[in-house]
Amino acid sequence: MNWFWNLSLRHKLTVVIMLVSLSAMLLACVGFIGFEYYATRKALVHDLSSLTDVLALNSRAALRFQDKMAAETTLASMQAKPNILSASLYTSDRKVFATWSRDPAHKDARVDAAPQEGYRFERESLRMCQPAVHDGEKIGYVCLESDLREITDRVRLLAGISFLVLIIAGLAALGLSAKLPRVVTKPILGLAETARLVGEKHDYSVRSDVTGRSDEIGVLANAFNHMLHRIQSQDSALSLSQQKLESLVHSIDGIVWERDPKTLAFTFVSQQSMRILGYPPESWLGNSRFWEKIVHPDDVDKAAKASLEAQAKCEAYDCEYRVIASDKRVVWIRESGVVRVENDKPVALRGILQDITKQKQAAGELERLNHRLVDASRQAGMAEVATGILHNVGNVLNSVNVSATLVQDQMVKSKLLTLERATGLLREHLSDAGAFIANDPKGRLLPDFLIKVTELALEEQHRWQEELKGLRKNIEHMKEIVAMQQSYARVAGIIEAMSAEDLVEDALRINAASLARHDVEVVRAFNKVPKVKVDKHKVVQILINLVRNAKYALDAARVQQRLLTIHIGRNGSDRVKIIVQDNGIGIPKENLTNIFSHGFTTKRDGHGFGLHSSALAAKELGGSLTAHSDGPGTGATFTLELPIANSIN
């Protein structure tokens, strides 16, 4: 039956129609032939019975009179009936009386030995026996044998007719079945063609044209078209979103990638690779060693290790390394990756390579700036006025020192001193001065000596004058340097509104290391105050001085805990006060008045103008600097008052 299912729909329908119509025709023919056969037999029996009756009537006399000749003549009349094969007469005691047969050769063979009433069909003939009755008495029996040619002839005829009808009907059915199924198959084939197109070309825009029908095929076609419409819209939405996704991936500022976790070969690289590194994505995909080739030789191991470790732990990772771009540029890359895991096995490595060269450069720049800031703070820390000036006056001071020492030395050795001894000698001989000078060998030398020493002394004096002139010039020079430094400091200052807290923190930051080194604990008691209008540099300088002095005071004191308390608060409506307090050695009462004077210092290596210049600066800023102490060992308190920003305007 397999062939049947493989037949096309049209052929299948044809076969079905033919089978149905032919088998109906066949059944009808068989029925008809059967009926005709039966009817013909019945007619034959009836005909033979009538003939037998006629023969019996005709034979009555012969039988009554036992006239054998007459009997045989009567029987011979059957010659006229072509279908009768034999005829026979029996006596009443069922003995053969006379016989006739169409084939004389077999005359006896065809006659029954004794008559059996009724009819019976034999293979090729029908036998019929009837009694001959006369006056109600059976006087003998008549038997006839007929052939069945009539029946077979009729059946054959009918079979021939039936066959003809079948042939004609079959041809008609075939003709019809070729035409009729198209009504059904054509739309289905149309649908099938549409489906084939969709399947082969993935073209969801085609539609079945079998529409406007209300039967099942119409419904099917409509449903099919609807489905196509849905698929088409979903497909276009899908491709749209895929395009969007793709353009998104390719436009992300970084190389999006995917790698196979086993071979580490790249399976996807976004087009930014071309822009960032100058390598097209294909060069990554085609060559599994490509990545190792372009990474900076010093960084290959580090970078490969990071990704392998992350893969082993199935963790996200981040690493930075250098890549040599196609134009030999060195590009800093940050690789961020994740491991995609399915069923506890890594199935893909995905991530992004970002160009961080600029950040790296910015970080370097930041570091440089930081260094500069550190340098600047250090310089600010060193910017004690005296130190700055010393740098500049160092050489001049040297000359001053040399000149002063020379003059002093030469004065000690001065020949003027010998004048005193010479005059002493004269005084001894004052009474006989003339004789002494004229006669005494020493006295004779004396006038010459006096002249020479006087000359020398004048020479010396001239030299000292020169030296002192130089000394004075050098001192002038130093004054100029100091003045320049001061004017520079004045010009550099910018008056701005500053937070007192920030100023204090700046000063503390510069001293932080030494405060920590000297075990000083800093206590901050800051109240909320308005901003102050100051020259930041000057205030910080004052505060640095105060903090540094406090540190010295604490260093020299024997206290268990070295405390430096800085208090910020308001003083009246227009001032802010910053109080720097320590529990150090304190200030004796007699010093409280002169600590601010120039050149006063208690430090062995101090120069004594820290507080002096601080007080001047505070005054310049429109504020004040005051000191308080209850005496030695009681600590000291310095109060810096500064004007509030808006109170000046």
Partner: protein, 190 residues
Amino acid sequence: METNVNQTGHRLLIIDDNPTIHEDIKKILCPPKEDADVSAMAAELFGSRSPAVEPTQFRIDSAYQGQEGLAKVEQAIAEGAPYAMAFVDVRMPPGWDGIETIRRIWDKYPGLQVVICTAYSDHSWEDITRSLGYSDSFVILKKPFDNVEVLQLAHALTKKWTLACETRIRMDNLDEMVRVRAEALSKANE
């Protein structure tokens, strides 16, 4: 500058970009000569005084840049009268700094005794030893300096230089003697 130089004195070189330092050092090391007649007269008049120690004389040359200093040292060697010592400033813009200059001079003439003058701690001991190594041939002198410091250094270092020269000559003589003796011995053995 060469007027008051005694031809027998040691040769000194000052390498410094600041002329006042040259003046200062010269003032200290070359004081005005005492008038010999007056001294003799004073001794005769007042008796007792022992004559003052004749001050050591120095012949001082000036160079204002490192390169110039090196040229002077080379010239002095060529003349057969090398410098015994040099005062070298650390900061001498725009040319070599003092350390660089000393390194280059020692390449040519390692025997030179050096006083490194520095105004402030722009070069630490570490910086100096990193460039010059630990040596007994240099001393650091901080500005402003005392006259006595300069005098002491000049006398001590020139004395050291002289001793070193004598030692070297003596060693050379000994070597020569040993060589001659060895030759004589080997001849006697033949």
